[in-house]
Symmetry: C2
Subunit: 102 residues, 2 copies
Amino acid sequence: MNRAKKRRLESKGWKVGDTREFLNLSAEEAAYVELKLALSKNLQELRRQKKLTQEELARRLKSSQSRVAKMEAGDPSVSIDLLVRSLLALGASRKRLAEMLL
Amino acid sequence: MNRAKKRRLESKGWKVGDTREFLNLSAEEAAYVELKLALSKNLQELRRQKKLTQEELARRLKSSQSRVAKMEAGDPSVSIDLLVRSLLALGASRKRLAEMLL
DNA sequence: TGACTCTATGTCGGAAACAACATATCTTGT
DNA sequence: ACAAGATATGTTGTTTCCGACATAGAGTCA
């Protein structure tokens, strides 16, 4: 479970004892994190395949090397939005994106 | 004209800005918007299939009715992150998410 | 070893996305 | 037609994500 979600739950007085909701949220959260990781891996693969450094990719994305490093590391501060935009910028098709999810 | 307003207009098909900006609206950007729209549509379908109101779904997501409305409308202020998390919360599998992209 | 390139990690100010609210508009049943 | 419920739209204050920068670590070659 990532920082943000945890904090949000805590601030809303999440009931620790509610097993059903706890399990549901965990499963969702796990699916979300796994999905992000899948995109991260594929981003790194694609970048290497294209023989680009993180710095070069960052320039294409109008971003920074550190952000690319965080993307590839699946850092919690990186959104799926940014990953998807980056993959599209590397020429990944919708079909290919779909394959990443399977 | 502020940035948010401009985005909102652009999402509704208004051309705001000069020709260069318009031409730079790349295939990549179009793909991103289309992808979001696909998820939006599927979210609405899933919600209706489950016979939930926007208000009820919002409560599940610990969000608000207006946010759900904006999600389903493909509003520019809604991230893919939120759409994905919502779809997962409605029980969509990774496989199903992948199918939405095809 | 030391210079050089590439990648990882921490931090910060500002931009974008968020939940929540208010209110308007659309829908549906009577 | 009217009311009630559901959905759409606009705004506000807060939180999260972003690019940018600094710097550390890892790998390579002379």
